[in-house]
Symmetry: C2
Amino acid sequence: MPLTIDQLNAATADEAVALLDGVYEHSPWIAARALVSRPFRSLAHLKHALVQAVAHASREEQLGLIRAHPELAGKAMVSKSLTAESTNEQNKAGLTDCTPEEFAKIQQLNADYNAKFGFPFILAVRGPRGTGLSKREIIDTFERRLHHHPDFELGEALRNIHRIAEIRLNDKFEATPELGNVVWDWQEKLAVHTDPGYAEKGQLTVTYLTDAHRACAAQIADDMREAGFDNVQIDAVGNVVGRYEGATPGARTLLTGSHYDTVRNGGKYDGRLGIFVPMACVRELKRQNRRLPFAFEVVGFAEEEGQRYKATFLGSGALIGHFDRNWLDQKDADGISMREARANAGLKEEEIAAIQRDPARYLGFVEVHIEQGPVLNELDLPLGIVTSINGGVRYVGEVIGMASHAGTTPMNRRRDAAAAVAELILFAEQRAAKDGDSVATVGMLEVPAGSINVVPGRCKFSLDIRAPNDPQRDAVVRDVLAALKEITDRRGVRYTIEEAMRAAAAPSAPEWQQRWEKAVDALGVPLFRMPSGAGHDAMKLHEVMPQAMLFVRGINSGISHNPLESSTNDDMQLAVQAFRLLLDNLAAEAAH
Amino acid sequence: MPLTIDQLNAATADEAVALLDGVYEHSPWIAARALVSRPFRSLAHLKHALVQAVAHASREEQLGLIRAHPELAGKAMVSKSLTAESTNEQNKAGLTDCTPEEFAKIQQLNADYNAKFGFPFILAVRGPRGTGLSKREIIDTFERRLHHHPDFELGEALRNIHRIAEIRLNDKFEATPELGNVVWDWQEKLAVHTDPGYAEKGQLTVTYLTDAHRACAAQIADDMREAGFDNVQIDAVGNVVGRYEGATPGARTLLTGSHYDTVRNGGKYDGRLGIFVPMACVRELKRQNRRLPFAFEVVGFAEEEGQRYKATFLGSGALIGHFDRNWLDQKDADGISMREARANAGLKEEEIAAIQRDPARYLGFVEVHIEQGPVLNELDLPLGIVTSINGGVRYVGEVIGMASHAGTTPMNRRRDAAAAVAELILFAEQRAAKDGDSVATVGMLEVPAGSINVVPGRCKFSLDIRAPNDPQRDAVVRDVLAALKEITDRRGVRYTIEEAMRAAAAPSAPEWQQRWEKAVDALGVPLFRMPSGAGHDAMKLHEVMPQAMLFVRGINSGISHNPLESSTNDDMQLAVQAFRLLLDNLAAEAAH
């Protein structure tokens, strides 16, 4: 008999602790503290309460929790003194079946890890889909995490413990994240297609109109048809457009979607999650044979990353009538023009204009996207409400001082270009931090042809400044550029700076942001509002209709544009549930 | 009738101002203020007093002095309203004979320069040897100086005015720096020899045992013989050794010299000045048929820069028995081993050991060297007394943080490797400045494969720390490394650091430093004591005998290891005079 939330809410405190026994290894205090938050509104709510109990515990208690765990493939496994749950998990990962070399390697990693951090290495070996990680993946992750900073690794250990607990709770409640698994499997299936030269390296790269890109479009179209969309088309720029018609013909349409192209050696979730989550909703609507009072249109945008051609947001841009015909003459690294690539894909130039949507026919645009940042992961929150897509400005610059002998030039007679840039870096860092939600980054930094014994005469740098609205961004820019002038004047050096990019902020439409908030709140997970630091297709639709986005936590510190980008089936499940609630609520609104 | 110092000292104030008329363009106040320092001990003393009068003037007065000068090839030249002195100078430089293109170019430069700095471009067109700069050299210098910082360029303008005044004073006093000119001409003759591939580019490069290097040795040996040395040999490592015997056989020997090899595309004076200045002294002794109570040995060291082979200080090292036989197997960029290069030059390995000197046979080692730094130039001082050759330590390091998305990673969740290094740069700068005479430099700096939109995950840097004595150097190192640890701990990033070089300081022997001081003081120029930031051959001799060095001002901000490295015939004259006084005083000491 699976446990239920009602049963847990009704139990005495002691009974409830007993019901949750084994979720957190040898640490019943966590359940005891979490239970003060009863009644739980959902399993997600319970999970969050447990996470919060650990977050509010002392550092000693947290270390105690970590140290209550067995070493991976360690002595406890060998002597068969693991808890039942741990035995099951280490079995599934094949750790009980190591070769002597693998075993020796893991023992060495255990010893190194313990020596560095003072606690055992903990990894949710059942992995983000709930199925086991391979021994190879486990050893790679182990080696990678050995390099972490101790503070960070403490958090990483706790996050893995929470993931282990989540999987154990799913077992206890027999709460398989079935829609999350559907989304997961779609992503895996799509990730099979990758551009030539990357497959061999096990890397995912899907750029505009390559064979892999066209295979992705076909795959998404097939999956859409199978999910029950009424009409699925690949349009004249390569967007895959699925429509699920409303209860009445001529009803207005809710638009959603995201992109299916990737950066080079990218992740599986960036963009694609925003296609598959609404597809899972349509799949459920179709299974229930249910129609909404509005039509629902899911678009897999063909091009957002601008990798093969410098044509960022080509896919979503086409929907608002932005297609720059100069792009057609651009050539890729192999000398193939976009015009040639389009002809090869059978896309007709004369049909591009027809892609433009009439905003009057649309309710608005919503987009689900993996966060691509560390915030939700560090706060142990599965979902985030986007308040605005940040506006940004980018610069490339150089400070020019005077190269001189490192031994013979006294400190007070230097015109050190790198020291001036160092001041700029620290000023920009502090200035952005003061706002709380602005960011400033010097990502490129180089003393060209620098020598160990020469005071830098030149220092090149880049500057990227973003904020949730344009006036806030511009205030940071103004202060940072003023600081650059002040620093270089004071140091007797000069500088050049050139604007490389400028993008306006796209604040969420309040009514649509509130719809996401209502849906997320109903799941029993806390609301967390945040700006989007990265650009998204929603920025383009923003120009013609109201928009709002939902973020899904990225694990592995939210790393993005990287094969380590990842999510979990449970978080995807919550995203589908939130989207379904948004659709339901919107249907209810229409009914009133 | 030339003016004399005695005449100037005896004149009334008004007469004296009149006697100095025309030295500083339309600015008799400078002479008037300098005259309060009478009686002048020498022409050098007068020159210094004039420089000091300008240095102590207000900024407005300094600007007035600069603005009292005509534009180069400007309206005043065209309308023939220049002072007699200016007309003479602009004539000699060929400026009155410009092509229309050259004239237009100079007019444009004049306009740009005036717009940027608010005063006319001033250049001592009669140049460092007193002879004219070419029109090409004038235009190149003009273009280069346009890029200067205004504060720096103000100083550069004044320094050129002082140089113009110096040449005008030499004319007035008929004080040709004859020995300086001899040294100058030797340097020019030697600079004809350069390694293959550099001559075409007009660059000076003389590396160990190339044809150009051997031609230099032969040239120095010839010039030594012609100057009157008793015995001149090229030894088994390629050092050119000239001896001028003392009055009595068996007398102990004063050793001096410096190196004749250069860095790639280097300057003409680095090292070589320290060979030619004492050669000029021997030339004078021989002319006077005079013998000192000690022998005098001048060595042109074959190798100090370690360019062709990594064998820094090979030449001076051989004199103290340091010759590493592993060097013989080193290959140059063309695959030629040092053994092969030596065989080709006819140098015999079995004779190397005999180069080692018996310190008991030597009084000590003195070395004259161009400063290779900006200090004397900025202070308007021709000579500097070296107190110590700084000890140094070099490191290469890397900070490892976490690369993350520049848009999506809030400021308080970053592990920015470059920001950590920025803090280190500024700490090192301030820490070294606190000592006054320590230096710390981050000369290499790079975010490897940095992107404009990625928070730096790695940042590589170098660190070079030097101080006049080892405990002071080690204290700076200790503080900087502690700061690195504190910064990286606080920021949650980690670092690696590796020592790349460590050299002990070589403080001057007090009695020899005092001998230089006595000599310089007798010239009527102020004493200025300073450490040597760069390494010199004297560091090697320091290991076996007392040593002390004399620095000669480098013009062009003291730039070194660069074709712009330069000096003047007047400063070289003072260096020869100082060396002659040191010899005379040492002879007098021996007589007591």
